[in-house]
């Protein structure tokens, strides 16, 4: 039932502002794809082009292999949740949600304002519609609001109405523009699983704009990471996180952000601002960037042998994030701020045993390390052995 969506070389500019440049994307039928990217990178614009509200400057959008560029939005068989909700202000919540169904199921005559009620079959159809509206409204937890008007709703409630309006139609393709941004964590979890369930149940294709990594990570089959009007990486959540194709992707994904350290390529040996570093690469570029995920760092009272990278630091600040702590450190040599993440329990025990008082090392052990060339592209790490056998290298910054 779900539609395949394929976007080819899509380009779009608003006057002088180039918003989308040569976007290509293939979304498999029934899959859930998130569009993730910084604010203003063109996510909403891409959705609007797909829906047919904006005409692209170049490129094509195809659904199920056929170009839909010539079709009006109505004929594209897709539903959209707008970032700005776009509810019908003069209709009640119930009317807002039932409108798409009425348009789909009732004949023009049955839709007539007063007369329609007496059209044959209208009552039964309307009863069905009302039932469906109730169902989707109760999923979105707005069933008690069906008689209100949008102006009488809270922000989150409006967003849920917008979501319900899209969900009720069950077309082959959903476009959703930050549909959960105004919901609280609990509701969000509910809605997320509801959306995923819907995706599976209807076998519908979903293109989902979000700025929430967790959301993108947990819900999507694949993530398209957009920046500056381009798609930098289109891959599974795991791959996006653990094998970022670009330094910007690495930086964008992961919270707190990956630690980036400038490095030099000294004939295959990576020279970074660390005390000890035992990473090699096969690429030729001179200036590199070394990325270390916060959870790849461990804070140690003394250097250990297993580490491929060790930086002497001072601990500035500990931040509690529920079960985790963030350790904000400053590299002693360069003054660079680095962050490490640890379990709160582990941290507590280290503090209790007085291990975090003297001089400290941030160490990494091979996993969670990434190398990027000057243009930002990821390059492979040839080996990352324990540094024991190597003499300490001079740190550069």
């Amino acid at each position: 039932m779900g539609a395949t969506l394929s976007i080819c070389d899509l380009t779009k500019a608003f006057g002088q502002t180039h918003v989308l440049s040569q976007i290509s994307l293939d979304v498999q039928a029934g899959s859930f794809v998130s569009l993730l990217g910084p604010s203003g990178c063109g996510k909403s614009t891409l959705l609007r082009v797909i829906a047919g509200f904006e005409a692209q400057d170049q490129g094509t959008v195809s659904v199920n292999g056929h170009s839909i560029d010539h079709l009006p939005p109505r004929a594209r068989n897709l539903a959209m949740v707008f970032q700005s909700y776009a509810l019908y202000p003069h209709m009640t919540v119930g009317e807002n949600i039932s409108l798409p169904l009425e348009m789909e199921r009732l004949s023009p005559f049955q839709r007539l304002p007063l007369l329609g009620r007496y059209a044959p079959g209208q009552r039964m159809l309307m009863a069905d519609i009302t039932a469906e509206v109730r169902k989707v409204a109760s999923v979105a937890e707005i069933d008690h609001l069906l008689d209100r008007r949008p102006a009488q709703l809270s922000g989150g409630q409006r967003q849920r109405v917008a979501l319900a309006r899209a969900m009720v139609r069950a077309p082959g393709l959903f476009l959703m523009d930050e549909p959960l941004s105004n919901l609280d964590a609990k509701l969000r979890v509910t809605m997320r699983s509801e959306l995923v369930a819907m995706n599976k149940r209807l076998d519908a294709t979903v293109l989902y704009v979000t700025h929430d990594q967790t959301e993108a990570m947990t819900m999507s089959d694949r993530i398209a990471l957009m920046m500056g009007g381009q798609i930098l990486q289109y891959d599974t959540p795991e791959a996006i996180y653990s094998a970022p194709a670009h330094v910007d992707v690495a930086r964008f994904i992961g919270h707190p952000s990956i630690n980036c350290i400038p490095a030099l390529n000294d004939a295959g040996v990576v020279v970074a601002e660390a005390e000890r570093c035992n990473i090699r690469t096969v690429e030729r570029e001179q200036k590199l960037t070394l990325g270390i995920r916060p959870e790849a760092f461990a804070l140690r009272p003394a250097p250990t042998a297993k580490a491929v990278l060790g930086i002497p630091v001072s601990l500035d600040r500990v931040e509690l994030l529920g079960p985790e702590v963030l350790l904000w450190c400053t590299a002693k040599r360069t003054g660079r701020v680095l962050v490490a993440q640890a379990r709160a329990a582990d941290h507590r025990s280290m503090v209790a045993s007085g291990l975090l008082t003297g001089s400290l090392w941030l160490e990494a052990y091979g996993s969670g390390l990434h190398l990027f060339d000057p243009s930002g592209k990821a390059i492979p790490i040839a080996n990352a052995l324990s540094a024991e056998t190597k003499a300490p290298l001079v740190a550069v910054s």
Binding site: D57, T60, H70
Partner: protein, 306 residues
């Protein structure tokens, strides 16, 4: 697929969207355009045709006279006076009307309990049956026995011949025209004010722009600009089309000082039955008003865009 064909595909999509939009627009404007053509454009084209002839109402035939009617109009001192008067009149009425209407609309809009009362009151003049109301006004502004004259007498001020004094006649008619048009603009403004989102005022209230002038200048006025444009445009056009008032109150007198262009046109066409000449005058009039309106419209649009 090659780059070129994709490129053309994309353009094709854009073109299809455009064509769609055009088609929808066609159905939307179709009936209106058809009716405009039938009820206004075609009849006006006849007027245009007549303006090159010497047709007299009731005549069976007519002669082509080329531009004679127009050259006659340009040389006609009465026409010149009528045009001057019309501009003077519009100069008095349009700004006053728009400003007054805006002012009262803003005041009324901020009322809550008494709002309906004021709306009704300010709306009343639009219901005026002009043949009656001009009679009433001729009494109110009667230079001897009218209430205003009595007031002047009471304060021992010199009497004013509102309609009989050549220096006052046009102004007095303007006073009534303002009365007549203010409610018109008032309603337009009131409808326009309903569309300004409440939260705009809330944000402004915090920013300190929630009172009087600043609120007006920063929020209300810019948001109301399109409405103001419509109001000013319509008032201008209606003001230029003044003539019933003149007929009833002064017949263009005293000494032609309240003669206006449309009354002159009406006289020529329907009193003197010179349809040809009257048509030429109409044409000149319409060209003039069109030019002014379009310029007004352009300026307002540009300001909106800037």
């Amino acid at each position: 697929m090659t780059a070129i064909s994709q490129d053309t595909m994309g353009r094709y999509g854009a073109m299809a969207a455009r064509a769609r939009s055009e088609q929808m627009a066609f159905w939307c404007i179709g009936p209106a355009v058809f009716l405009i053509v039938v009820t206004t454009v075609v009849p006006f084209a006849t007027v245009l045709a007549f303006s090159f002839t010497d047709y007299q109402l009731g005549d069976a035939g007519l002669n082509w006279v080329g531009l004679a009617n127009f050259s006659k109009a340009l040389g006609d001192p009465q026409v010149r006076q009528a045009v001057t008067n019309t501009f003077l009149f519009a100069g008095m009425v349009v700004p006053t009307t728009v400003v007054l209407a805006l002012f009262f609309a803003l005041l009324v809009n901020s009322r809550t309990v008494t709002r309906r009362f004021y709306e009704l009151v300010f709306f009343l003049p639009i219901t005026a049956t002009m043949p009656v109301m001009s009679l009433v006004w001729s009494f109110i502004l009667h230079d001897r026995i009218g209430p205003i004259a009595r007031l002047l007498q009471y304060f021992e001020l010199p009497a004013i011949g509102f309609f009989s004094d050549p220096d006052f006649a046009l102004g007095s008619i303007a006073l009534i025209a303002i009365w007549q048009h203010t409610c018109f603009c008032f309603i337009i403004f009131l409808a326009g004010l309903t569309t300004i989102p409440k939260e705009m005022y809330e944000a402004a209230a915090l920013d300190g722009a929630d009172r009087g002038w600043e609120k007006f200048r920063r929020i209300t006025w810019p948001q109301l600009a399109p409405t103001t444009l419509v109001a000013a445009l319509l008032t201008t056009i209606r003001t230029f089309q003044v003539f019933e008032l003149v007929v009833v109150l002064t017949s263009g007198g005293p000494a032609g000082r309240s003669q206006v262009i449309l009354y002159k046109t009406y006289l020529e066409a329907f009193s003197y039955l010179r349809i040809g000449y009257g048509s030429a005058l109409t044409l000149i009039f319409v060209a003039m008003v069109c030019a002014i309106s379009l310029v007004q419209f352009r300026i307002a649009r540009r300001q909106q865009a800037a």
